[in-house]
């Protein structure tokens, strides 16, 4: 049991004041590395903007889209970002409900990731529109023309689902952050003071606030889970609702959701390692938590692989020549390298996660998590493009590769996401302080229970035994 001693989720002797100090420190004067990464992100964004302006002016032809490749990387990347957004929900909502308290130190940035990747994903449907300037026609607003969007279209469902998801997850992120904002308020000065005063909405942590806070948080979590599932099911229906071979697959919704959670978890591992390294948060982002996350990722990876196989089988036994052709084209056609790349990254690489040794090896995990995300991105591309290249009508059989415009915009989206995230970590506490405190307290009590079984059947209300008392926070904290 030596290991378990070493790898604790969190060290219960951690002082509360220390927690505040460590986390708040992360929000202070950035170091050089920070500015460099900001510069990189801005650079990527700039390229993307140039590309988009060009495309806006000359038309979608600039993206090298053609007949029949009406969609390509834009939609693929859109799905990719939507997928990534699901991890935050997984960690903050699902694990919250399941009382897995190891989530507490890492769910905040995961949630931020959710919000930001949604903000990124939201850009793509607009970018890929032929007439961007009429984008708002997808929304049901009252016009004197008395026309509405076509509510039958999965694209409209997307608009609804994504706006709902964005609203909810943003609120969820904010509400969950209020107590921490109060902490920031009490420690900040200058403009930050004003900012946090405004944002913390006068939180003072009295029992009424806490009580309602807990309920609200729980309820929102409960709603966020089905929402997340529905959102990606709806995104999958963009394809599942069509009649195109390789798209109209019944198993797409679960397949997409699995893929979403998968890529999300991978992204969390990446950011986890980065934050841990950058902010020296070994105390909070512990190897033990990383391991748990990795195990979770591995499980999802296997689910994803399974659903993949299911899809292949159902196509194979479905006896629709077109579907089979598309599948075979993926296996052996011009897209084969990317397809097998996806299989490798998505179904082979995760087995690294199965080994404790590697799970605890940060650089390795870094590489793996990035590979996993690459795989997931390829997956989306392999869903969108081969079908277009090779559908029912042979006259339209064709292979087409994206132009620089598409690539720039795709890369730019990563820059955009990165920038948002970088701003976030400096303005908001990216680790939940109050929940770390809860975690510490909780672990401490568990520990104390181990010490004196008496406490077990003695609810916290009663007068505590002295031994326990001097273990309670105040003494050490003050």
């Amino acid at each position: 049991m030596q290991n378990n001693e070493v790898y604790k989720d969190i060290n219960e002797d951690l002082k509360w004041a220390q927690i505040n100090k460590d986390i708040l420190k992360s929000m202070e004067n950035p170091r050089k590395g920070y500015w460099i990464s900001v510069a990189v992100c801005l650079g990527l964004i700039m390229f993307a903007v140039v590309a988009e302006i060009h495309q806006y002016q000359v038309g979608m032809g600039a993206a090298n889209l053609n007949w029949p490749h009406m969609w390509d990387l834009y939609i693929a990347t859109f799905i990719f970002w939507i997928g990534m957004s699901h991890a935050g929900t997984l960690l903050s909502a699902i694990l919250h409900i399941m009382n897995a308290d190891w989530r507490k130190p890492i769910y905040r940035f995961a949630e931020a990731m959710t919000t930001f990747s949604l903000m990124t994903a939201g850009l793509f449907p607009m970018i890929h529109l032929g007439r961007l300037w009429n984008m708002y026609w997808v929304l049901p607003y009252l016009t004197d023309r008395g026309i509405w969007p076509n509510f039958r279209s999965p694209l409209v469902w997307d608009a609804f689902a994504i706006s709902t998801y964005l609203t909810s997850s943003a609120l969820f992120l904010f509400i969950g952050m209020i107590p921490d904002l109060a902490i920031c308020r009490d420690n900040a000065r200058g403009w930050r003071k004003k900012l946090y005063t405004a944002l913390s909405l006068g939180w003072r942590g009295d029992d009424r606030q806490w009580r309602n806070f807990r309920r609200t948080y729980l309820i929102m979590a409960c709603f966020l889970i089905p929402l997340a599932v529905s959102v990606h099911s709806i995104v999958s229906s963009d394809f599942a609702m069509s009649i195109m071979p390789g798209w109209s697959v019944t198993s797409f919704p679960p397949y997409f959701v699995a893929g979403a959670l998968y890529s999300g978890c991978a992204a969390i591992i990446t950011l986890f390692i980065l934050l841990r390294y950058y902010f020296r948060w070994e105390e909070y982002m512990t190897i033990a938590i990383l391991e748990k996350t990795c195990k979770l990722t591995f499980a999802i990876a296997m689910v994803w692989t399974y659903l993949n196989l299911i899809e292949f089988c159902s196509v194979w036994y479905g006896h629709s020549y077109a579907d089979k052709e598309v599948l075979l084209a993926k296996f052996s056609g011009p897209y084969a390298p990317y397809f097998w790349g996806m299989i490798f990254c998505g179904s082979v690489v995760p087995f690294v996660l199965a080994f404790e040794k590697w799970r605890r090896h940060l650089p390795m995990m870094m590489v793996v998590s990035i590979l996993l995300n690459l795989g997931m991105w390829l997956e989306r591309w392999m869903i969108v493009t081969p079908t277009l290249s090779l559908s029912y009508h042979p006259i339209a059989h064709d292979v087409m590769w994206p132009s620089w415009v598409q690539w720039f915009i795709v890369l730019g989206s990563f820059g955009w996401f990165g920038l948002l995230f970088l701003v976030f970590v400096k303005v908001f506490p990216s680790v939940s302080m109050y929940e770390c405190k809860e975690m510490v307290l909780h672990r401490r009590e568990l520990a104390s229970k181990e010490i004196s079984p008496v406490m077990a059947n003695n609810p916290g209300g009663g007068a505590p035994a002295p031994g326990v008392a001097n273990k309670s926070p105040g003494v050490e904290g003050s």
Partner: protein, 175 residues
């Protein structure tokens, strides 16, 4: 007869809980546990047992939100669809249930969440002008008990605080 506010800061939960227990047991007559406002950096798991049951309306509001989301969502869609200037579907259902179910579902969640949040903001009395009686220690590592009572109880309350190793006591007389 002046109303008066008093706040006692405690070093740890146990002292505070002990104090609350005292009030429970009517150490000060006229003051019950219901007058206690308990401030803390985190929510202690046992807080409900200590303070006794205190209700929250939020779940009900959420329910209303959901109900509203469903009804309004569906009605909105249906009215929009049936008002379409030209029926674009050439004889297919005007109010297509499958897609409307999907969209209504989203609306339900959206409004539930929004209602919940609003309810939260209201019930927790946020947005209020901050009370003068507040210690930044509370967001750090100390817990506090606050009363808003008649002047005459102040001393007794202080007494109880003292018995339970209070760290600091603040009071304020309202004009």
């Amino acid at each position: 007869m002046k109303k008066c506010r008093i706040l006692g800061l405690f070093g740890n939960f146990d002292d505070a809980f002990a104090a609350i227990a005292d009030f429970k047991n009517h150490k000060v007559d006229g003051i019950t546990v219901d007058d206690v406002t308990f401030l803390s950096p985190i929510e202690h798991p046992d807080i409900d047992d200590v303070l006794g049951p205190r209700p929250s309306v939020i779940p009900k509001v959420t329910l209303c939100g959901a109900a509203f989301g469903i009804t309004f969502g569906f009605l909105f869609l249906a009215s929009a669809q049936s008002n379409f200037l030209i029926q674009p579907q050439g004889g297919k259902a005007i109010v297509p249930l499958p897609s409307n179910i999907v969209l209504t579902y989203e609306m339900m969640i959206l409004f539930s969440v929004i209602f919940t949040v609003i309810a939260f903001l209201i019930t927790t009395r946020l947005f209020r002008k901050r009370k003068s009686l507040y210690s930044e220690k509370i967001t750090l590592d100390q817990v506090a008990i606050e009363f808003e009572v008649d002047e005459k109880y102040i001393d007794q309350i202080k007494g109880v605080f003292k018995d339970n190793h209070v760290v600091e006591v603040r009071e304020e007389v309202q004009s």
